[in-house]
């Protein structure tokens, strides 16, 4: 009885230390992000006064009505030599705010200070960007708290796996950019193997279920990579519109393929681990279960997850194009043209990911059965 109480106390202490470490990190990072002006080289100014100077109604050539507003701002510089001085800025924004912002008192902005002003007593400048780091940080903390609160240990592990995978991806891209001669597809293949091993081991531990899932994930991913590659080869990529692919500094086809497989990997892993852990679960409940029964139940499980998993990928990919589609349509582009130019790559990604998901159901099933048979043989 006494030992039980002690154990409870010990656990309590451990948890209390963990919670206080998290709380300390939270407070410290929030404080830091609100006082980190000196870490930035670009001048930062905090808006302290706003006057709305002018409002005009505009109609563009497609009869879209909008309002243009001009704000004059007075802001206080937060870093650099002019720290503490006031600066005058002007800002123009529209009510649609597609590429402009309305500023409020308290907003922090990156600016550039005009150097050759005639009036020495009055600093003027131009607004370059918004300081968004504190919002990113706050949302990140809400994310961490939600995962920890709901998932406890598993939540912590999925945060760790996210961070590790993000660092790995960043490192892989560094390797790709700094060494000539190594292809992005090769680097992505290595990264895919590492991502799979790390994520699955972190979430499920060292056991046969995980090993079966790792093999099934890799098989599923590479087979669907092959299928997509062959399709692209045989159709000579008809219907893929790379010209609207954004942010391209490297060979676009390779970047597209690499993105395609890293993107589908999470969903494929999800299917693989669901298959292997549920089939292993059936075997553990009844050691004498026939392979035929395992296959039948495995396929049933696969059927259930197939539809929803493809939907997850579909929405994650397509939704990002909504603003661009709206912009095209409001600029009087025909619907078919707008869709083919903006969605061809996203749809290809979603479909190829779907193929990966569906293929992982049989590969997951057979790898798991292979592992179960091996276990039976050793007994």
């Amino acid at each position: 009885m006494n030992s039980l109480v002690n154990k409870f106390k010990e656990m309590g202490y451990k948890q209390i230390t963990l919670y206080s470490i998290i709380a300390f990190c939270f407070v410290a990072s929030i404080f830091w992000v609100n006082h980190n002006y000196s870490f930035y080289e670009r001048p930062i100014a905090k808006v302290i006064e706003i006057h709305l100077e002018d409002t005009t109604e505009v109609t563009d050539m497609y009869q879209n009505k909008d309002h243009l507003f001009t704000q004059s701002l007075i802001a206080e510089l937060k870093n650099g030599q002019e720290q503490g001085q006031r600066i005058h800025l002007t800002n123009q924004y529209s009510s649609s705010k597609a590429y402009d912002q309305e500023y409020h008192v308290g907003d922090e902005l990156f600016i550039s200070i005009d150097t050759n002003t005639k009036d020495e007593s009055k600093l003027t400048g131009t607004i370059e960007d918004v300081k968004r780091d504190k919002y990113v940080l706050i949302v990140a903390w809400i994310f961490i708290f939600t995962l920890l609160f709901v998932g406890k240990k598993q939540g912590l592990f999925s945060i760790i796996s996210l961070v590790v995978n993000a660092i790995l991806l960043s490192y892989a891209l560094d390797v790709y950019l700094n060494t000539s001669g190594i292809g992005l597809l090769f680097i992505s293949s290595i990264s895919i193997i590492l991502f799979t091993v790390i994520s699955l081991l972190l979430s499920n531990g060292f056991n046969e279920k995980t090993y079966a899932a790792i093999i099934a994930t890799l098989l599923g991913t590479f087979i669907s990579l092959l299928i997509t590659y062959l399709v692209m080869l045989f159709t000579s990529e008809k219907g893929l519109r790379y010209e609207e692919m954004q942010f391209i500094t490297s060979p676009y086809r390779i970047v597209f393929m690499a993105g395609l497989f890293v993107g589908a990997l999470g969903a494929v892993m999800d299917v693989a681990i669901t298959m292997s852990s549920s089939i292993f679960g059936l075997y553990e409940k009844n050691n004498n279960i026939t392979v035929k029964a395992l296959k039948a139940s495995g396929l049933e499980i696969g059927k259930d997850i197939m539809g929803t998993m493809t939907n997850i990928l579909f929405f994650a990919y397509i939704s990002g194009s909504i603003p661009m589609l709206i912009l095209y349509l409001k600029n009087a582009s025909p619907l078919a043209f707008t869709l083919s130019i903006n969605l061809s790559l996203e749809l290809a990604r979603a479909l190829a990911g779907g193929i990966g998901i569906v293929l992982t159901i049989p590969t997951g099933l057979y790898t798991t059965i292979f592992f179960i048979n091996r276990k039976r043989a050793t007994k």
Partner: protein, 263 residues
């Protein structure tokens, strides 16, 4: 043959091979969802409609397709449906606050080159559209998690009809914990893959960490990832609670009905 048609045909064949009738339904669900998404976008181009309201309606229809069409209408799917809607509403409030403050709507300066031919003053509220983009990218994962929790909860209740509301809720949470990791992972990788080009761009042009974190595009992407994670986390207690409540409630109702009949 065009790439998309070929890929779609291969996907359809595979889905029928593995899933039979259910496979066909899953494939058509994708098409219906695409249709709903298109209609949503067309409605959003009308400046007189509030994008948030349109998004909410679209989310109800999409959840309906994902939950009732792919599966069937029963107590499990009904609770999953209501839990998804509640989560989406809560999340939408949160995202609306975030997008209003962080100013991550619309297009970033990295995109100016391709935007130069367009008129940007189109009268549609891009802040609200930004919020709807975030919620739409998460909705697949939200409905998936809701079904994945509510169906084993019903099984549990079937086998142990005497279980209390609280025990059932804890059971739901424990299932949710197992799903949380993989669902979050699915979304993370989907976004990583989508932003590969952007990451290479940042690295190629040697942006500093400060520039990356504060840039509109990157902060919009990372906030989307976090909001997706928050959504997948939120749906777990909400579904567990609603399922536990409904299951135990209907049993009590049946009991009183039996009681009435007897007397």
């Amino acid at each position: 043959m065009n790439v998309l048609m070929s890929l779609a045909a291969i996907l359809l064949i595979l889905m029928i091979w593995i899933g039979g009738k259910k496979g066909i339904r899953s494939f058509f669900a994708l098409f219906f969802n695409f249709g709903v998404l298109l209609l949503t976008i067309i409605f959003m181009t009308n400046p007189n409609f509030n994008p948030i309201i349109i998004t909410l309606i679209a989310c109800v229809v999409i959840s309906y397709i994902n939950i009732f069409y792919i599966n069937a209408v029963n107590t499990t799917t009904t609770t999953a449906f209501f839990s998804s809607i509640i989560t989406i509403v809560v999340l939408l409030f949160f995202i609306d606050i975030v997008t209003n403050n962080a100013m991550i709507q619309g297009f970033g300066e990295e995109e100016t080159e391709e935007l130069s031919i367009f008129s940007l003053y189109i009268g549609v509220d891009f802040v609200k559209i930004g919020a709807s983009v975030i919620i739409m990218s998460t909705i697949g994962a939200i409905t998936d998690t809701a079904v994945a929790i509510s169906s084993p909860m019903r099984e549990m209740f079937k086998h142990n009809p005497t279980i209390s509301k609280k025990e059932l809720f804890t059971f739901g949470l424990s299932i949710g914990k197992d799903i949380l990791g993989t669902s979050a992972n699915t979304l993370f990788f989907a976004f990583f893959g989508g932003y590969m080009a952007l990451l290479i761009w940042f690295k190629d042009l040697s942006y500093s960490v400060g520039e990356i974190v504060n840039s509109k595009i990157f902060s919009a992407e990372i906030i989307t990832i976090f909001c997706a994670g928050i959504g997948v986390g939120l749906i777990i207690p909400i579904t567990s609670w609603i399922s536990a409540f409904f299951l135990v409630q209907t049993k009590e109702k049946d009991k009183t009905r039996l009681h009435d009949k007897k007397s």
